[in-house]
Every structure is written in C-alpha cells, then in structure tokens.
C-alpha cells in the first residue's frame, strides 16, 4: 500500500486522517506562536518537555500506522517510511540513525528551526533549541523502526535557531510512556449542517481541497501553497500542548488560567491573519475563486471555506451581521481531544475556534480590502493588539456533550 492510500476523510465533517491519525494544515506563524504560548504559560523548560513529549506520542501513533500501513518490515524500511513521511508533511528532512534503544539524528530545513530563523533570526538571539516536534519525531521513529515499546527521548544538541550550524539530536531511553491520543475511530459520523452562504462555502471548499490535493513537498521537505509555508500536522500535538499547558497552569494557580486561555485564543487570530489572509490575497485565490472585494458575508464565508479545506471541521455561519457572528459546527479538531483524552469535561474550551471566529470579524470589518494593506506585523498589531471591541463566548461545546460547538462573537 502507498502512503497516499492511508489518507482518509470524514468528508461531511471536513476532518482528515492519515493512518487514522487526525491531521490539519497549519502555517509556521501559528506553529511558532503556539509553541511560544506554551513556553510563556508554563516556563521554557517545562514547555520544552511538554511539547517534546506530546510530539513523541503523536508521532508514535502516526508513524506506527504508516510504517505498518505501507508494509515496511525491516528497521531500515520502517525508518525510511518515517523519514519520507516527515518530509512529505512539510516538516523538513530528518536523517535518523536508529539502533535498538538509542540513536542520533540530524535535520535539514526543519520547519520550526528554519522558520524561526527566517521570522525572528535577524532581531532576536535565541539560546534554547526550538525543534521539539523534530525531537519527538526522532525518538518515535527510532522506536517504530525497531518496534520497541520502551520510551525513548531525544535531546536537541544543536539548533540553527540558536546559530548552531545544524540541528542535531541524541536519542536515549527515557521520557514518559505515551498517553492516550485521538484516533479516527473515536469520531462518530455526523449529519452535515448548513448555514448562511452554504452553497458558496461548499463550492470554494471543494475547489481548495482539490487544489491542496495536488500540492506536494519539495525534495527538502518544504510545502508551499498560496504563498504560505505549511505543515500537515497532528491535532494530537496541538491539543496535547494546549490543554496540557492549561492543566499545568491550573495546578499552579487557577487565577492564571484565563491568561493562558486568552493566548490560546490568540493563536486563532495569528492563524487567520497570516494563513487565511495570505490565502485570500494569493493569486491562487484570484484564479480559483476571484479577487476578494471585502464584503462581510464574502469574507466570513471565505474564511469558513478555508477552515474546512484545511481540515478544521465543517464550520458554518449560523448568524452574521456587522455586530454579531455565530459560527456553529458539528465537528472541530479541539473537542475530540477533550472528549476522548481528558478525564474531566472541558466545556467552552475550543480556544482556536473562538479566536478564529473573532479574527473573521476583524478581517471582514477592520481590514481595508480595497487598499490591500500588506499583512505585516504592524497591521496585525493594529487589528488585534488594541482594546477589542469584540467579545467571544462558547455556549455550546461538543466536548460537553452538545450536538454542536457554537461560538458567538458580539460587538461590545
């Protein structure tokens, strides 16, 4: 069986899987912001451990399924399958030397390190490595190659983000045993919902998904589409670090939880501004949909279509006016983690969905689409860093047993 044959989708739900592992597309702006949020919330040392361990368990699930699925038998074959997958997902290239119970790895064009250097390298000197996702991969690939259950842990001994010549890793026994992660089989089929501008959203989503289906990584393991560098990434990683950070902060002080929740919502702003904005500005959008003019319904429905195409869930518009947006969805990628992995319910905690919905309104109403201002850091700060005139609530949550997740964005 080929790698592509392991892809599957719950199409009515706009959720995608590889070997049963839930995956979405996210760009480096979001990826770097979310990792930094975790470090800010729990401290850089604990943040690194959390990110590395969540990456490890998410990769273990995915790599095991893929190595088995493509019929790789020997350690060398299984390792090759893992490395090819890593590059195909847009994470760069990892060369792992895997012995039973230990190993070493070297990375090139690693998504996090390379992107960090591109984005911040000229302004900031970094003293800590950045590639926790690659470290998790290195340890998981070594285990999967030799089919060993004994946990391994990787240390990033060199990182280009801190001006080392290469990203290097050492792999040795250690680390926690992997915990529960979400699998495709945990999700139930859902009835598709319809909302405002449904015909337009469905048509654009179909066109975008068709286009994305033809997008492939280059031989360096980089994936570019719509003028944006993207990864295909594991929702088990995103959710593991997000909810894990909230749990760590809650153990320290309940009073600090709203702060980290606010940052997790902001990850939705960062994604919508950079990725959705980049897509809407792109020549691909001009060709596939038509140049965007900036009408409220046009922008918000376009954003819902993009969310669906990236595998975020079947987001629909229940209500829309210049003062209020209600986004409803019978599927999204955060709630399954809450419902499956956590032992306590987490109602109202689809942080990314909440932040993204607010950003839809800001893009639609606060951005001058005719002027087509460049999507710079300064514009981001103009749109998102001042006093927000929008408040967001999530009265219904799939994670709490509701039939839908419903997010209400209202002008103050």
């Amino acid at each position: 069986m080929k790698l592509d044959d392991l892809n599957s989708s719950l199409e009515s739900a706009c959720l995608d899987f590889l070997g049963g592992a839930p995956l979405v597309y996210h760009c480096h702006h979001f990826n770097l912001f979310l990792d930094q949020t975790v470090d800010d919330a729990v401290g850089s040392a604990r943040g690194w451990e959390l990110r590395r361990d969540m990456a490890h368990q998410a990769w273990l699930q995915l790599l095991s399924a893929v190595a088995d699925g493509v019929g790789a038998h020997t350690p060398a074959e299984r390792l090759t399958a893992c490395q090819q997958l890593y590059a195909a997902m847009g994470h760069g290239r990892m060369a792992v030397t895997a012995d039973r119970g230990r190993g070493a790895a070297e990375g090139e064009f690693l998504h996090y390190g390379f992107a960090w250097k591109q984005k911040y390298g000229a302004q900031v000197r970094r003293h800590r490595p950045v590639d926790a996702v690659a470290a998790g991969f290195a340890a998981a690939a070594t285990q999967v190659a030799h089919r060993t259950a004994e946990p391994l842990v990787a240390v990033e001994t060199g990182c280009i983000a801190k001006e080392d010549p290469r990203c290097t890793f050492e792999i040795a026994p250690g680390g926690p045993p992997p915990g529960r992660v979400v699998h495709e089989s945990d999700l139930r089929p859902v009835e598709p919902r319809t909302g405002l501008a449904e015909e337009r959203i469905s048509a654009i989503n179909a066109g975008l998904r068709n286009f994305l289906g033809g997008v492939a990584g280059d031989d360096r393991g980089l994936v570019e589409a719509f003028g944006v560098f993207v990864t295909r990434h594991m929702t088990n990683y995103y959710n593991g670090i997000s909810y894990g950070a909230v749990d760590v902060v809650r153990e320290r002080s309940e009073a600090l939880v709203p702060m980290v929740e606010g940052l997790l919502r902001e990850s939705g702003h960062v994604c919508v501004f950079n990725t959705f904005g980049g897509i809407l500005y792109s020549p691909e959008w001009d060709a596939l949909v038509g140049r965007i003019e900036g009408d409220l319904t046009e922008v918000v429905s376009s954003c819902c279509a993009i969310a669906r195409a990236l595998g975020f869930g079947a987001w629909t518009i229940e209500e829309l006016s210049p003062k209020r947006l209600v986004v409803t969805t019978s599927t999204e990628y955060e709630s399954p983690w809450c419902a499956t992995v956590r032992t306590e319910p987490c109602p109202g905690a689809s942080y990314f969905l909440q932040g993204a919905a607010v950003a839809f309104m800001r893009l639609a109403l606060d951005l001058d689409w005719k002027a087509r201002r460049p999507l710079t850091r300064e514009l981001y700060d103009d749109l998102f860093k001042g006093d927000s005139r929008w408040r967001v609530e999530q009265p219904d949550s799939l994670a709490a047993g509701s039939a839908v997740s419903r997010v209400v964005v209202e002008s103050r």
Binding site: Q118, G227, F229, N274, P283, E284, D286, A287, T376
Partner: protein, 103 residues
C-alpha cells in the same frame, strides 16, 4: 522602469513574494517564461505555476487577470531575492529573443 514593475508583496517569509507588472497578453507571458527555461503546470484550468530546476523559485500566473507573482526560494539570502523577480521581469519584458512563437 523595472523599479516600479517589481514590487514586494507581504508574505509568509520576508522578501518572499514579489509582484511583477508586465502588461503582456497571457499567451506571450507563457511563451516567454518557457523560453527562459521555466516549466509550467496548469491548475484548475485557471492558474499556472512555473518552476525552474535546480532552483526552488516559483512563478505563479493568473491569465484571466494578468497577475504574476514570483515566490523566491526562502533559502536564498535576502540580498538575492529581489534579483530573482527582476530576472523574471527581464525575461518577460526584455527577452533575448523578443518574438518567441505565440500559441
């Protein structure tokens, strides 16, 4: 003037996206890019994406609107990036062979 015809667009990576104004009909754009060694692929009947190995730069062209965007390989040093877009502009507007066959 090339200075006005090649302008930076804000993108995912610094100095990554460049808009090239050319004022040429679509068929001539395709012909001149191919003459300059760019290999194109048509997507959804509406969008051409060109590459030129062994580099990783891309040219994205929308025939319906004439919009042409150069995406420079992000591994290139910053100081080289504008030059890639200017080379594309030259290939379009100051070609070595000014009259390639037009389909």
């Amino acid at each position: 003037m090339m200075g006005d015809a090649v302008t930076q667009e804000a993108g995912c990576v610094r100095a990554f996206l460049w808009n090239v104004d050319h004022g040429l009909p679509g068929a001539l754009v395709l012909a001149r890019l191919e003459a300059a060694g760019w290999q194109g692929k048509l997507f959804a009947g509406a969008l051409w994406i060109f590459a030129r190995e062994p580099a990783y730069d891309k040219v994205v062209f929308v025939p319906a609107t004439g919009r042409l965007q150069v995406r420079v390989d992000m591994a290139r040093p910053y100081e080289e990036r504008r030059g890639v877009a200017e080379d594309v502009h030259r290939a379009l507007c100051e070609p070595a062979d000014p009259a390639p066959p037009v389909a």
